[in-house]
């Protein structure tokens, strides 16, 4: 394989979270624990127990133009993996290289301000996603058209229904032609008509030769869209390979539980 064709290289990535214990720190408890030697030892064990490896030694490569699906139970580490690839989180261990600009559609509508109007939020959210002013100006019509919210452009989005907000967010996120597209369960946006439309839009983007990382619980969708699949369970890669094969294995595993 030519080296140029590799778009994403994930090498031995591990990600550690601390469950709860680090969420808050109280001075009183810290003071008590400091002097209580017995407890200090206990705490050390507790800390180990509280450690949670969301990803363990994950390695894979994605070639240009490939559509790769991620499957696994809830909490298997799929979303964490995508966030690491998107650069939102830094892995505890391991290395990641991505060649090309990434469009992370992980959680849409990041940075929406409920008090601002839809028009203002298009610019704000666009800036958050890293778009330039020129790009937003030139694509503004397209966003408005696609979201079907022309009559509500100057309404603060706190008055929007959740479906309307989601439609706006989807429309903003999909105006770019990214080299790497990261999609996390967002195809269930809006009403049925819009779902159809957004799926069509996604297909168009995928067929345009984009490299796609795709997380979904719908195996039908995965089988339909992906060439390759990665099966994660408890942060560990169970299997990588041809999409249909992996899906079959996973189905078997899920049914046997």
């Amino acid at each position: 394989m030519d080296k140029k064709d590799i778009m994403i290289k994930v090498e031995n990535i591990s990600m550690r979270f601390n469950l709860g214990i680090e969420k808050g720190f109280s001075l009183k408890q810290g003071f008590i624990n400091f002097f209580d030697f017995k407890k200090r030892k206990e705490n050390k064990n507790l800390k180990k127990k509280n450690e949670f490896w969301a990803l363990k030694d994950v390695t894979f490569e994605v070639n240009k133009g490939e559509v790769i699906g991620f499957i696994g139970s809830n909490g298997a580490g799929k979303s964490t993996l995508l966030k690491v690839v998107a650069g939102v989180m830094k892995p505890t261990k391991g290395k990641i290289e991505a060649y090309g600009n990434i469009c992370p559609m992980i959680e849409l509508g990041a940075g929406f301000d409920p008090q601002l109007t839809a028009r203002e939020n298009i610019y704000l959210n666009g800036a958050v996603l890293g778009y330039s002013k020129e790009l937003i100006n030139s694509k503004f019509e397209e966003i408005v058209e696609f979201s079907e919210l022309r009559d509500f452009l100057d309404v603060p989005i706190q008055n929007f229904s959740s479906g309307m907000t989601a439609r706006l967010a989807f429309s903003i996120a999909t105006i770019v032609d990214p080299e790497i597209l990261i999609v996390d369960e967002i195809l269930s946006v809006g009403d049925i008509a819009f779902q159809k439309k957004s799926l069509a839009k996604m297909m168009e983007m995928i067929k345009g030769g984009t490299t796609v990382l795709f997380v979904s619980h719908s195996l039908t969708q995965i089988k339909e869209l992906c060439d390759k699949a990665v099966w994660l369970e408890h942060g560990v890669v169970q299997d990588i390979g041809d999409c249909k094969e992996i899906c079959k294995k996973y189905e078997k595993f899920a049914n046997s539980k």
Binding site: F17, E22, P104, D113, Y131, S132
Partner: protein, 264 residues
């Protein structure tokens, strides 16, 4: 070092638009549904000053020989208000934007920086009432006023440095919001805003001189009230304190920013 500067300028260029958007969002949200809107930026410092002037010059019979008390008060107040508002907003900017930090990659220094810029624009507006007072009281201006931007830049750097430090601490220790609230009250009284510095006992004066805001206000008042170029030591204190705090803040922030995400 050149690499470092190159990185900063590249990143500033890349995220300029985002910064503008964040600052303009703050403005829009701040004055949403208020009848007077941006006029409040001018009115608010004037009104606070009036209240303080009333209390201090009439009830406590405060006056300063040779200078106008209103101008004295206003010049200190404008500087201190910038610091207190910007550092407070910057402190909560990282915690307040966790939902964003969690979803997309944005360099995190943008949040404290955009808050300091936002309040900075507001600060420039408060210069209008300050100059109104300067003219109305007959204090007048002189050519040295052109040196004032130096003090403003120092003030900005110092505040930004504090913003970096405070926002980092508050991620790990939410108590900081309360602690800093008390600190800022103490700081108000430890800075000669409404009283004359000469009233402070001599053996205690050195404590007041450790306060960077003391020197910035000193610089500004030397020019506005006493029509003179500040002494060399004032320049040095201003630059050392502001650059020092900015550097410390940047280092602390940079060292810890990757850990922020675990404390959501």
């Amino acid at each position: 070092m050149t690499n470092f500067i190159k990185n900063i300028s590249y990143s500033l260029k890349k995220y300029k638009f985002l910064m503008c958007q964040l600052v303009s969002r703050d403005f829009k949200v701040k004055y949403k549904r208020s009848a007077l809107g941006i006029v409040w930026s001018l009115l608010y410092p004037l009104l606070t000053m009036s209240v303080m002037a009333l209390v201090f010059s009439h009830m406590f019979k405060m006056s300063l020989p040779g200078v106008n008390y209103l101008v004295y008060l206003m010049s200190g107040l404008v500087i201190f208000n910038y610091f207190s508002e910007a550092s407070n907003l910057a402190m909560s900017s990282v915690v307040g934007n966790f939902s964003l930090i969690n979803k997309v990659y944005i360099p995190k220094y943008i949040f404290p920086l955009s808050k300091c810029l936002f309040v900075g624009i507001n600060f420039l507006l408060t210069l209008i009432p300050l100059y109104a007072i300067i003219f109305l009281t007959g204090t007048g201006v002189n050519i040295y006023h052109l040196l004032l931007p130096f003090a403003f830049i120092c003030l900005f750097m110092f505040t930004l440095g504090m913003g970096f430090i405070l926002s980092t601490i508050s991620v790990f220790l939410r108590d900081m919001f309360y602690i800093y609230g008390v600190m800022i009250t103490l700081w108000t009284y430890m800075t000669p805003i409404m009283y004359d510095f000469a009233m402070i006992p001599e053996q205690l004066q050195f404590i007041f001189k450790l306060n960077p805001l003391f020197w910035i206000i000193y610089f500004v008042r030397d020019i506005i009230l006493y029509n003179q170029v500040p002494g060399l030591n004032v320049w040095v204190y201003c630059i050392v304190f502001s650059v020092g705090f900015l550097l410390i803040g940047m280092i602390i922030f940079k060292k810890n920013q990757d850990k922020f995400i675990y404390y959501v």
